[in-house]
Structure formats: C-alpha cells, structure tokens
C-alpha cells in the first residue's frame, strides 16, 4: 500500500469538506441563528489539517503518482466516506443536535451516502443552517459518487465498478473524454445545471428559496433529507410534487447519458437499454401500486388521489430518494411489499441512486432466462447482448456474484439488527433494506413518518455500516475486512 497517496486523497476530501462548511457558516451569520461556532471550528480545523497533509504529501515526482495499486484505491475510497461522515457530523455534535458521535456520524453518513435515513424526530426544531448543512452533505456525497463511479472507476477498473465500464454500460471512457479530470469537470457541469434547473422549477412551483435549495440538494443526490418532518407531504402542492417527481426521475439516470446527449446532440443516446428498462420499471411500479391502492380503496373513490401518491412515493423509492407524501405504512400489504422490492432495484448505474442498479437486474434476468433455455437445449449457444455489445460470461457471473453478496450482506445485517427485542421483524428487515440500498425511510417503526430513533445504538452502528456498504456496492468496502487485503 502507498500511504502517501491515501493520505493525500483524504486530505483533499478534508479540505473540500472544510471549505464546504463555509457555506452554512455564512448562512448562519446571515440568518443570525447562533449556530456559527459549530461550523467555524470544524471548518477551520479541517482546512488547516487538510492543507497541511496535502502539502506534506506532495508527490516527489510524476512517477510516484502513477504507482497507485488497487488496494490504495479501495482503501482511500472507503476511508474518504468514513472520514466525511465522522467529520461532517461534527457540527451536529457541537450544536447539540445529537448527544453522541454515533448518532452524528449516522446522520452524516446518511447524508454523504445520500441515504436519507434520519434520527431527527422533530426536524423543524433545528436551526436553518444546521438543516442546510444536513442537506448539503447529500449534495456533496452525490458529486463524489458521480465523479467516482463515472469518471474515476472505469479508468482504474476498480471493484464492482468494473462492470460499469466500457463493455457493459456503454459508458466507454474513450467516448466520454479521454482524461479523468476532463470527464469529472463535464459531469460537474451536468450536476450543477440539473441543480440550478430544479431550484428554478421549485421556485416557480411556489416553494420558498431556502426550501427550494435544501430540497434541490437532496433531490439531485437522490438523498431525501427534507427540512420538514412531514417531508414533501407538508406542502400539499401538486405542482411541487410534479417538479420533484421529474427531478428525482432525472437524477437516477446515468450522468453519462446527459454528457453524451450534450456532446453527440443526438437522441439516439436515449435508446440506451438500461434507460429504457428503468423507465419501464418506473412506469410499471407506479401503475402496479396505483392498481392496488384503487382495489383496496386506500383513498376512497379518488383514483386521482391514489395516482398522485403512488406516482410520488414509487418514484421516490425506485430512485432511492426517500421523500414521502403519503405514509405508505398505512397502505395495503401488497403495496408495501412492492415498495420494499423496488428499493433493491434502484436507479441506473452512473447516477446518484442506490440499490442494485437496473443494468445488473437486466443482466441477471437475462442470464437466468438463458440458463433456463440451456436446460432444454443443452448445446445452445446463448450470448447475452445488451444493445450491440456482448456481455462476456465472466461479467454475468460477476453480476450474479454481486447479487449473492448483496443478499447475504442483507441477511447477516438483518440478523444482527434483529437482535433487539423492541424492533418488529419487518422494522429490522426494512431498516437494513433502506440503508443498504441507500433509500432512507423503511417500514413500520422506521417508516416514512418515523425516525430511526427506535433502533438502539448498536443497531445504528450496523446501519451506518450498511449505508457505506450499499453506497460502495458491497464488495469495495467488504474487501477491507478481508485478511488478504492486509497481507502482501
């Protein structure tokens, strides 16, 4: 391992967070809400330490930078998220929002992984600058993910992200731009343009400027923190809901698509297989839940009302955002279970959404279909094609393997969280599902209108870990726990 590189990357992350903290600091001074010391201290400390380490680890030559091993990347990435969560949570701790570091780290991890699970039960009681920072962590986490998974990962070919590289998703780095820095810049522009567009749209829909920015932060990142306890249900506004549905749906599309759309200026880009499947799943999910809500009469005779709630909540769950307008805990069992299933699918690869990602679901299903076909025609050759690309056998097995790892992690984590007599089985299962797939709210005791306060501190640590595992697609983070990682 190369400690220099690892330290340098993480010093960079620290600098970025320290600098970002200046925004809520300024806001706190402007609003005069008295929270400014909670931002000033961590910000100053992080910038000082970050700058010092960054300077101290300046590469001695160009060659030193080239020697980055797989291990360095895995370690740096995981550490970066842990560091962000611990340090990014410090304002909550200093402000007294949370009494202990476990809770503040949980909230910040939920932010930086764009999960949206919260421990706050009365959100309105917090100062505006604290809530602003809380939402901003998601927006920052979103940038980190897009840059990491679309720009950096395919080039370094690391981890589960290997599957997001050229051969599978059609995101060929040569077709993006040849250099990581340029790609990253281009993606950042897309991210900023989407954010700006949403702020404008929300303002037009009648949201106040502060709320509009806060909700934009968490929509684009598919995070789902809101500055209202009732989430979007607070506004009772169809216009706001429509705007959010559109932007949630847009945020779960691969950012590479936007980039290609801009550079190639051709609508053919939209014929991407994953994108089509994603839209299909989204529409099917909304219609399915709508159907159940109508049949069960959850909203009386009002089909429109049922559609409004199913469209919003299903979009929110598939994109792993986690905003809510209706309390889906009160829905019928079938609708609730459909919600739980959709969590695992998630959005497209290369977006800020979590879950297993649509592309993997496509590959897994088509592999199984091919297997079934082969059990009747044992000698049949069944290449798996996605668009005009053939997915190699090794990639199919890897995707299936990732699925197994995902489910096994889910089972083990659920078992561990379930060792709490006060939690119902469905609460612990959905808490793990919601954090592992970076959705946010679960069902029952951790449901849409509840916080994660019902989970004890041990459980909160496990769930924090689940968010990290889910965000980094399991294997990246799991590798650090393997003895062979530490052996040479």
């Amino acid at each position: 391992m190369n400690p220099r590189i690892i330290a340098r990357i993480n010093a960079g992350v620290m600098l970025a967070i320290g600098t970002s903290l200046l925004v809520p600091l300024a806001l706190s001074l402007a609003y005069d809400d008295g929270s400014w010391p909670s931002f000033l201290l961590p910000s100053a400390a992080m910038m000082a330490v970050g700058a010092f380490v960054f300077r101290a680890t300046k590469p001695t030559s160009r060659r030193a930078l080239e020697f980055v091993s797989n291990r360095d990347v895995l370690f740096s990435v995981t550490l970066a998220w842990v560091l962000s969560a611990v340090l990014g949570g410090s304002p909550f701790l200093l402000e007294g929002t949370f009494a202990n570091p476990i809770d503040s780290t949980f909230e910040a991890m939920s932010g930086f992984t764009t999960t949206g699970a919260t421990l706050l039960s009365n959100i309105e009681a917090q100062t505006p600058s604290i809530l602003f920072w809380r939402s901003m962590t998601q927006w920052l986490g979103g940038i980190g993910i897009v840059v990491l998974f679309v720009a950096v990962a395919p080039v370094l070919g690391f981890g589960a992200a290997r599957l997001l590289s050229a051969e599978v998703s059609g995101i060929d780095q040569t077709r993006l731009t040849p250099r990581i820095a340029d790609t990253a810049k281009a993606l950042l522009v897309v991210y900023l343009v989407l954010s700006a567009a949403e702020v404008v749209a929300l303002l037009a829909a009648g949201m106040g400027p502060y709320d509009a920015v806060v909700h934009t932060f968490t929509t684009i990142a598919t995070g789902g923190f809101s500055d209202r306890t009732a989430s979007i249900g607070y506004y009772h506004s169809v216009a706001i809901e429509v705007v959010l549905i559109v932007f949630m749906a847009l945020s779960a599309v691969s950012f590479a698509i936007y980039y290609l759309l801009y550079t190639q200026r051709s609508l053919r880009v939209l014929l991407d297989q994953e994108l089509l499947a994603y839209v299909g799943i989204l529409v099917a999910g909304v219609l399915f839940v709508w159907g159940i809500l109508i049949i069960e009469g959850s909203y009386g005779d009002s089909w429109g009302q049922a559609f409004r709630y199913s469209a919003f909540d299903v979009t929110s769950v598939i994109t792993t955002t986690g905003f809510v307008t209706a309390d889906y805990d009160k829905w019928d069992t079938g609708a609730k279970f459909a919600v739980l299933l959709l969590m695992f699918i998630g959005g497209c690869a290369g977006s800020t959404a979590g879950g297993m990602k649509v592309i993997r679901i496509i590959i897994v299903f088509r592999t199984i279909l091919a297997d079934l076909m082969r059990s009747i025609h044992p000698r049949a050759v069944t290449p798996l094609k996605l668009g005009d690309r053939v997915i190699p056998e090794s990639a199919r097995v890897a995707v299936l393997g990732l699925f197994a790892a995902w489910i096994l992690t889910f089972i083990v984590a659920s078992l561990v969280v379930a060792v709490q007599p006060q939690l119902s089985l469905i609460s612990s299962l959905s808490a793990v599902a919601a954090t592992l797939n970076v959705v946010g709210p679960g069902l029952d005791q951790v449901g849409a209108t509840e916080s994660f306060g019902a989970v004890d501190h041990f459980g909160r640590v496990i769930l924090t870990l689940c968010m990290l595992l889910g965000r980094l697609e399991i294997l990246t983070a799991l590798a650090l726990f393997s003895p062979s990682f530490w052996k040479d």
Binding site: G157, A160, G334, F337, L341, V364, L400, G401, L475, L478
Partner: protein
C-alpha cells in the same frame, strides 16, 4: 415432446399413488374407523385408471426428450397430489382446495397442514397423510439421485462434479439397480426409525407415522402438540437421530453400501452439515440458557438440539415453543431453514453444498477486488469445481431469492399482514412448512383465502423440484419445438 410417453409415465405415477393408498385402506378395514370407502374408491380408481392410461399409451418408440422429463416430473407431482387429496375430500374432512393443499404439502414433504387437531381425524387418514410424505420422499430421492444425474437434471451437476459421488458416471447403464439400492436404503432407514421410536416408548401407530414423516423430513404428526406431546427424552433422541440421518445425501449411503466408507467420511458437505448442527446447537443452548431463567442447561441443550435438527432438515417437528425464544436463536433457526439439509436428501432449502459454494464465491470476489488479475478456481475442499458450477449455484441463489420475493408479493396481495406472506412463502419454498409467528400453525393455513393456498402449493412444488424444473415448463421456449 411426446404426449404418449408423458401419458404413459403419468399412468405409472398415478397407479403407484393408488397402490400406496391400499395400505391405509387395509388398515381402515382393520381398525374399522369408517373411512374404508373413502380410501378404497380413490385407491382402486387411481390404480385402474393409471394402469389403463399406461397400457393404452404404450408406444414402441421409446425416445424420450428432455422436455418430456420436465413435464412428467411436474405433472406427476400435481397428478399424485390430486389423487392423494381425494380421501380427504371424500371423507368430508376438507374443502377441495384444503384437500389439495394438504396432499401437495404431503407429497412435497413440506408438512404445512390445515388440520388443527389431528387427534380428531380417523387414524387411517392420518396414516395416509404420513404415507404421502413418505412416498414423496422416496420419489425425490429416486428422481434426484438415480435419474437426475443421468439426464443432467436438477442439481445433478453438484453430484457429478463431485468426485466423492461418482454415482452418475458409474451407474448410467444400470439405473434400475441404482433405484433398487436406493429404495432398499430408504426402506431400511424407515424400518430402523420405526424400531427406534417403538423402543423409545411410542405406541406402534405413532411410531410408524412419525418414522414415515421423519425419514421423509416431512414433519406431519399424529398429535397437535407434535413431538412435545410425548414429552420423552428417549423419543426425542430417536426422532433427532432419524431426522439427522435423513438429511444426508442418499448417494453417500449408496457409497457406504458399496463399502466405500472413505468417501463418506471425507465428504465435505456431510462435514459442514454436521458442523452446522453442532455449532447451531451450541450457540442456541447458551443463548437459551442465558435468556430464559426457567430453563436448566440440560433442557436448553435438549430443546436446542431437537429444534436445530428438525428445522435444518426441514422436518419441522417441535418439542418446544420456539416462537418465544430469543431473537438470536430465531435468526439462527431461520438461517438453518434456508440452508436445508444435504443435496440428494429429502430436505428442502438451498442445500448445504450450495451454501458452501456461495460462501466460497463471495470470499473469492472480495479477493478479486484486491487482486483483479488473480485466477481463482472454485473449490470444494481441495477439489476444483468446473466453472459452470459457479454460474449454476449463483443462478440458483438468485432464482431462489426472486421466487421467495415473488411468492411473498403474490400472497401479500391477499391482504395478509406483511410478516406472514414472507413467512408462509419461506416455509413452503424451503419445504419446511413452518415459520415464526402464526405461520406454521394449522389455523394460519386454514384461514388463508383459497387462491393464496393454491399459490403456496405452487411454491411447495417449486421448492421441491429445485425451482428450475418448474420454471422451465413456464417459459415460452419450452413449448416451442
């Protein structure tokens, strides 16, 4: 596809079902419990009907395609369940849907039941209920161990890939001999079970019934309190040992019968299987002792051992109210249910060997994250497995999870509270028949809507035939020639 071949094979299956039904018929004459007619008519009807079907469709051309086999197996289980449901129906004990559910739960050795108090049911019907499981058990052993490997069917790759079980290669020309040997082993285990239970103090009727359902890892009991009703240490021990033996791959007994004991003791699946029982029992003993002040260490051990073996093998007899146990024990028991016994036994679940390979694969994937260029063959102990097995095991696991979720969704659509659809599908798919909470009790299944019950029978069949067999029949390409 060859409709004649399929019809003639189904004829044999139906006739066999009718033949087995003669046993409770004779027994009912003997005890005069008034069910002779309800058993005799279906028995003779199925026997004659089956034979007529067999003889009328006998073809000279004996070419059998793989599609035929899939259809024969799936339809065979459905047909025999339909025939088997007739006594329940004719005796007025149950509605048609409940009768079919009961029979399917019997022939798939699931053990889910809608009979709330078995004590009030005529003894010959109880005997028939146990015999359904026993017959289903021998069916599955013959299918997966004798026939499967020959035609590349079911989990056969797991046997043929494993050199410890060269059954497939060795017995291709003499499938009849293999089947005969396996049947003898099954009979011997059953006989040993009956003797052991009788010696431990059970009455002969109870001993026969419980031995039939323990050897087939089905779990029907003649008492509403299951094995707890006997409250006897020797009986529990006898049942535990019978279940434990029944969860072992029959191919191993086959090897043992041929004197190849080394292959048996060195079998990695067997070792892990016993290891799971040992570790599970130990942890649960400690956990029960620590959580429950009223239990002595001995009682904790006794209950933990019985429940571990009972749920790992998917038998689901019970001696204690494990519903009220601590969450850790619950978690362990649920995991054991999902794993199930060894491949090539009558158990359900994922099977121990697949669990081993799954864990090995996850470990390798993590290793690959660190060393992307490394080449790591899949190994079972020190034997290298073919790469196709990896894809097959992973694919099975995906389909298992997807099926579980699909089943849960289908049952949940009936408006059952959310934990229960998951539990019921889990219980049926793993051929266990029981779960935490209300699921597993006869009242729960009896109270389900008819369509939910029929849905669950499909999932029993899916679990019993290791998913792919049934799913293949449902694909469009199966019906295209």
């Amino acid at each position: 596809m060859h409709p004649k071949v399929i019809a003639s094979a189904l004829g044999i299956v139906i006739a066999a079902g009718g033949g087995v039904m003669l046993i409770p018929t004779v027994y009912s004459l003997f005890v005069a419990d008034g069910t002779t007619a309800t058993l005799a008519f279906p028995a003779l009807g199925a026997g004659l009907g089956g034979l007529i079907l067999f003889f009328s469709t006998r073809a000279r051309d004996t070419h059998v395609a793989i599609q035929d086999v899939f259809l024969i197996v799936v339809l065979g289980w459905c047909a025999v369940a339909a025939v088997g449901s007739l006594p329940y129906l004719l005796s007025g004990l149950m509605s048609p849907v409940n009768a079919f559910f009961e029979a399917m739960a019997g022939f798939t050795t699931t053990g889910a039941s809608t009979i709330i108090t078995p004590e009030e049911v005529a003894p010959s019907l109880l005997l028939w209920r146990s015999l359904c499981q026993w017959t289903g058990g021998i069916g599955i052993v013959l299918l997966f161990v004798a026939i499967g490997p020959l035609i590349g069917f079911g989990a056969s790759q797991l046997y043929s890939a494993e050199v410890a079980n060269p059954v497939a290669e060795r017995l291709t020309p003499r499938i009849r001999d293999t089947a005969k040997t396996l049947a003898y082993i099954y009979l011997a285990l059953t006989a040993a079970g009956i003797i052991a239970l009788f010696a431990a103090g059970m009455g002969i009727f109870d001993a026969v019934n419980h031995a039939l359902t323990a050897v087939s890892t089905g779990g029907y009991s003649t008492r509403s309190g299951s094995i707890a009703a006997f409250d006897s240490w020797p009986i529990e021990l006898a049942v535990t040992v019978t279940m434990l033996f029944s969860g072992v791959n029959y191919a191993l007994y086959f090897q043992a019968a041929r004197g190849r004991l080394g292959m048996v003791s060195g079998n990695p699946e067997l070792r892990v299987y016993l290891g799971i029982v040992a570790v599970g029992t130990t942890i649960m003993t400690v956990s029960l002792y620590a959580f429950d002040y009223q239990k002595s260490l001995v009682t904790s051990f006794r209950e933990a051992l019985f429940q571990s073996v009972s749920l790992l093998t998917g038998t689901a007899f019970s001696t204690a109210d494990w519903n009220s146990w601590d969450p850790l024990s619950h978690g362990l028991l649920l995991t054991m249910m999902a794993i199930g016994g060894c491949a090539g036994s009558t158990c359900g679940g994922i099977k121990v060997v697949r669990a081993i390979l799954l864990a090995a694969n996850v470990r390798q994937q993590v290793f690959h994250m660190i060393h992307p260029q490394a080449i790591t063959p899949l190994r079972l102990r020190d034997k290298v497995m073919p790469e196709s097995l990896r894809a097959s095991v992973l694919g099975f696991f995906f389909v298992y999870v997807a099926t579980l979720l699909a089943g849960t969704l289908l049952v949940a659509l009936h408006g059952v509270p959310i934990g229960d659809p998951l539990g019921a599908t889990f219980a049926c798919l793993n051929i266990t028949g029981t779960f935490l909470g209300p699921v597993g009790e006869a009242q729960f299944y009896a109270g389900l809507p008819a369509t939910a019950k029929l849905t669950l029978t499909v999932f029993m069949l899916l679990g019993r035939l290791e998913l792919f067999t049934v799913l293949v029949v449902l694909t469009p390409s199966f019906w295209r020639s």
